[in-house]
Symmetry: C2
Subunit: 141 residues, 2 copies
DNA sequence: ACCTTATTGATAATAGATATCATTATGAAG
DNA sequence: CTTCATAATGATATCTATTATCAATAAGGT
């Protein structure tokens, strides 16, 4: 593993992800930390989220549909759903045969597959309610 | 369906996607059209790719891992692999039980799932060769 | 205490895509 | 054919998420 020094900033980043209810974006993490440690830079948060992910200490839900990436205190492989309206990420509980996909092959010669992601799309409660005109602007996730 | 007027630009966009070998990005499409119709604007290409997709005339492989979206002359639901080095998209032939996923539910109350994408990650021939130092800069996909 | 270098904070830069807006041109109606 | 409302265009500015740059700081082994 890469040589890392222990910094306050990285530990705060780790703790913020770990204690966040759900799947924080980099900006969510930044805002949480800022409240306690106001001089932290957003670049530092991005760097530390990446290094924590590299070290396997946190999970990462990569950016899809142009939305931000989200982070996860769970590090095991599981499925996520992304809200197509706002990019919110939630867990999905679905059992399937991973081996089937691990043995899939691409249709192009020379393209070697390494992994797969099963990503669900949908509408989160907040965005779904807005659509129906329930006037739920105030709902916080 | 939305009221659309027939324009040369939109038909050129459609033809470019349809005749492109593989999965062109918006920029790929733009470059193809530019060679014949040099005054077309990139904004127009983006707009037309979106409207053609809305109308179900072309397929769209959404942006993942921060890479550009790609377009597809196939409009049926099938799987893709994305090169984690360069973002290239290729088809993957894998059979699976779509119903299983269509019946999955999110772990958060109020989040309603509408569809899913099975996305593979890997390394395309070009990037894979580069890695091994085969000096294949010139390979064109 | 010293010194190498990982890390930081501030900021600029990047990529992909959308928003804006004055101008153009489509195509239905007269 | 003209007329005309408005969809579409081209040029450009703007946006968002993220990474790159770089001088200054600080971690931690010696």
């Amino acid at each position: 593993m890469k040589d890392r020094r222990n910094t306050m900033q990285r530990e705060l980043t780790y703790e913020a992800v770990f204690s966040y209810p759900g799947h924080p974006s980099a900006d969510d993490v930044y805002r949480v930390i800022s409240s306690r440690y106001s001089t932290i830079s957003k670049a530092t948060v991005y760097r530390n989220l990446n290094s924590l992910y590299e070290d396997g200490r946190i999970g990462k839900v990569p950016s899809v549909f142009g939305y931000e990436a989200h982070y996860d205190h769970r590090t095991d492989h599981h499925c996520h759903a992304v809200c197509i309206k706002c990019g919110k990420v939630v867990d999905v509980d679905v059992q399937y045969d991973k081996d089937l996909f691990d043995n899939a092959v691409s249709m192009e010669e020379g393209f070697s597959l390494s992994s797969h992601d099963l990503i669900f799309e949908g509408t989160c409660r907040n965005c779904g309610n807005k659509e129906k005109g329930y006037g739920t602007e105030g709902i916080k996730d």
